[in-house]
């Protein structure tokens, strides 16, 4: 096994063990039997067909938001804007539905999805442009833009797009059938999941086997050499940020159309943030992000089920996510530091 492979194995196993330990301590602290509760969570996450489908539903936006972090990371950029890109994509996608509610399905559905993706691309591309042209740190700009996008959605659903039929509940009109992303196998799993997996595959091939991928690698290491082989940092920054944003924006409009059925305030429960965690847990690797997104999707779905059946607040899933991330970061940091010392 290669050195990098060994580090990854140690980090995965050790991180997993550290997480289970931390999770157990947390569960004991809130007065729950750790083993039973963790077992229940595994069951609620993946125990039967229904649990699995709910986990896949949660995994879809998480995967797309993770891809939106990984691609810019290939250029050394740290985008934390998945949440905002989701909201802005949902906003632009919904605009199509609100303006043309009676369009035929073959026109309305694709236009809505493209508008959602474009919205995400614009929101993220703006941060890319600021980074490339004005040296504005993309981590800060994307973080701030998250809050702005959420407020813009609130502005729309409390204002011009508020559905009078919703009896005061702030939401847009319900999406007509012609603007509903199709679901699969009679479950709530929708085609966004397939799109996410295909995107992960294509991006993996793109960065591993094409001239473009080599260009990104060269640029992230040395901009001058990148320019010499014909890759412009400005153009590539815009491109990777916009593609990433398009994926997250697509996730936003899919979530709105397929799951919520209307544009409303709680369309994302921190999927953008969770996508960021998944991107880091996968080591910024497109394909590895797929199983990890499904695993974390299961954790969140299990959190919801625990709240329903065992009255454990779903916020505990956020705590467990945080603990998982702390464990993974700590152990992988230690593993790579150790190997650097011995290597």
């Amino acid at each position: 096994m290669s050195d990098a492979g060994k580090i990854r194995l140690v980090a995965t196993l050790g991180g997993g063990a550290a997480f289970l330990l931390a999770a157990s301590i947390f569960l004991i602290a809130i007065g729950r039997p750790p083993l039973t509760t963790l077992g229940q969570m595994a069951l609620y996450g993946f125990g039967d067909g229904y649990s699995l489908s709910e986990s896949l539903v949660k995994a879809t936006p998480i995967l797309l938001c993770a891809l939106a972090v990984i691609l810019p990371a290939r250029l050394g950029l740290i985008s934390v804007g998945g949440e905002g890109q989701m909201y802005f994509g949902a906003l632009t996608g919904t605009a199509i539905v609100v303006w043309f509610p009676n369009g035929p399905i073959f026109l309305l559905l694709p236009t809505m999805l493209v508008a959602g993706a474009l919205g995400g691309a614009v929101w993220s591309g703006a941060a890319g442009l600021l980074r490339a042209r004005c040296n504005v740190n993309e981590t800060i700009s994307t973080l701030l833009m998250n809050y702005i996008a959420v407020l813009l959605v609130s502005y729309a659903i409390y204002g011009a797009w508020k559905d009078p039929a919703s009896l005061g509940w702030p939401a847009s009109m319900a999406f007509p059938k012609a603007a509903t992303v199709p679901s699969m196998f009679g479950t709530r799993v929708h085609v966004g999941l397939v799109a996410g997996i295909i995107a992960a595959l294509m991006l993996h091939i793109g960065v591993t086997y094409t001239r473009w991928g080599i260009g990104l690698k060269v640029l992230s290491g040395n901009r001058k050499v990148g320019a010499m082989v014909g890759f412009s940092f400005v153009r590539q920054t815009l491109l990777v940020m916009a593609i990433g944003g398009a994926l997250a924006g697509f996730a936003g409009i899919c979530e709105t159309s397929a799951i919520q059925g209307r544009l409303q305030a709680g369309l994302s429960v921190g999927y953008g943030l969770t996508g960021f965690l998944v991107a880091w847990l996968s080591g910024q690797h497109f394909l590895r992000a797929v199983p990890i997104a499904i695993l974390i999707g299961g954790l969140i779905a299990a959190g919801d089920a625990l709240q329903l059946y065992s009255k454990i607040p779903s916020a505990s899933a956020t705590i467990l996510q945080g603990l998982l991330f702390v464990a993974a970061l700590g152990v992988s940091g230690l593993a790579s530091r150790r190997s650097a010392r011995h290597g």
């Binding site: 040296n135 701030l144 899933a317 956020t318 970061l329 992988s332 940091g333």
Partner: protein, 310 residues
């Protein structure tokens, strides 16, 4: 007439100071942390913890001062995780900050459930209502608690300490170059740990000011990104504690202005108005980034973690 104007000016100044005090403390904390070469995005979570714990303690004990102290300690404890991850385990700082934020978010929304919507009585104003009619000073004395002047003193003291004392110099050296620091017999890791903990203490304090003194209530995610705004404002203030003061006050002025504009019956959506702080922060960062060019006032050791620039 002139007296009325002074009264209005005084109440504006009081509103500006009240709304900018939490931001002042968290921005100062992040400034100190970044001065030693560490970025901490976890300040948002630390602020939340400070707000939640501070509120709970103030409500239980009936003492706002005790709440403020407890909030600061809560922020410190959460920052400890960032320190252990970054310095102890060599984890990536951005990743670690997000992990700390996630933890703070989860912990406060879990343990803060029962406190949502509760009320505490904050610190009492600097002077009783009898002084309210004094021109200018009246509203300031009757509407401000001792927290705002205390915060200003802390900022000035931190600036003095950083630029005028031996240990402050050590911190600045660590932020510029670990190698030089080691050559001078300073242990960079210890200083960095101190920087992270100082930031944690101040961000927790900031959160507690928000819940105990300013809003006197607790709500989920009540910091609303103030921690991230602070990370942006550090750049605008060019990593200088003294500059934190005008930058944050300008910010508080815009917030006070939007609140007052709404009160005059301006028909602009409150959601659009609420965007203003983030937009203003972003614009400030853009302007400073364009003007400062390649590095700006950034401590050199930050460059490796905070994105290569230029």
């Amino acid at each position: 007439m002139a007296d009325d104007m002074l009264l209005v000016a005084g109440s504006w100044a009081a509103a500006m100071l009240r709304s900018s005090t939490p931001l002042m403390m968290v921005t100062l904390g992040e400034t100190l942390t970044q001065r030693v070469g560490i970025v901490n995005l976890g300040v948002e979570g630390q602020m939340l913890c400070g707000a939640c714990v501070g509120f709970a303690v103030a409500a239980q004990s009936g003492s706002p001062a005790l709440g403020l102290a407890a909030g600061a300690i809560a922020g410190l404890l959460l920052a400890l995780i960032h320190g252990v991850l970054c310095l102890g385990c060599g984890a990536n700082q951005i990743g670690s900050g997000i992990a700390v934020w996630t933890l703070g978010l989860g912990l406060t929304s879990y343990f803060g459930r029962s406190a949502v919507g509760g009320k505490v009585s904050g610190l009492s104003p600097l002077a009783g209502p009898g002084f309210a009619d004094l021109p200018f000073a009246g509203p300031i004395l009757s509407q401000l608690t001792p927290i705002a002047p205390l915060a200003i003193i802390i900022v000035l003291a931190a600036g003095f300490w950083l630029y005028r004392t031996r240990t402050g110099l050590n911190w600045r050296i660590v932020g510029e170059s670990f190698q030089t620091a080691r050559a001078l017999g300073i242990r960079p890791t210890i200083v960095q740990a101190q920087g992270i903990l100082a930031g944690g203490l101040l961000s927790g304090f900031a959160g507690a000011i928000l819940s105990v003194d300013y809003t006197q209530t607790w709500a989920n995610e009540m910091t609303k990104g103030r921690g991230f705004v602070a990370v942006g404002l550090v750049i605008v203030a060019r990593w200088n504690p003294y500059l934190v003061l005008p930058v944050v006050l300008l910010f508080g002025l815009s917030e006070a202005a939007t609140l007052r504009l709404q009160a005059t019956g301006l028909t602009l959506s409150p959601y659009l108005i609420a965007c203003l702080p983030y937009v203003v922060c972003l614009l400030c960062v853009v302007i400073v980034s364009i003007r400062e060019g390649r590095i700006g006032g950034m401590p050199a050791e930050l460059i490796s973690v905070f994105g290569r620039r230029g």
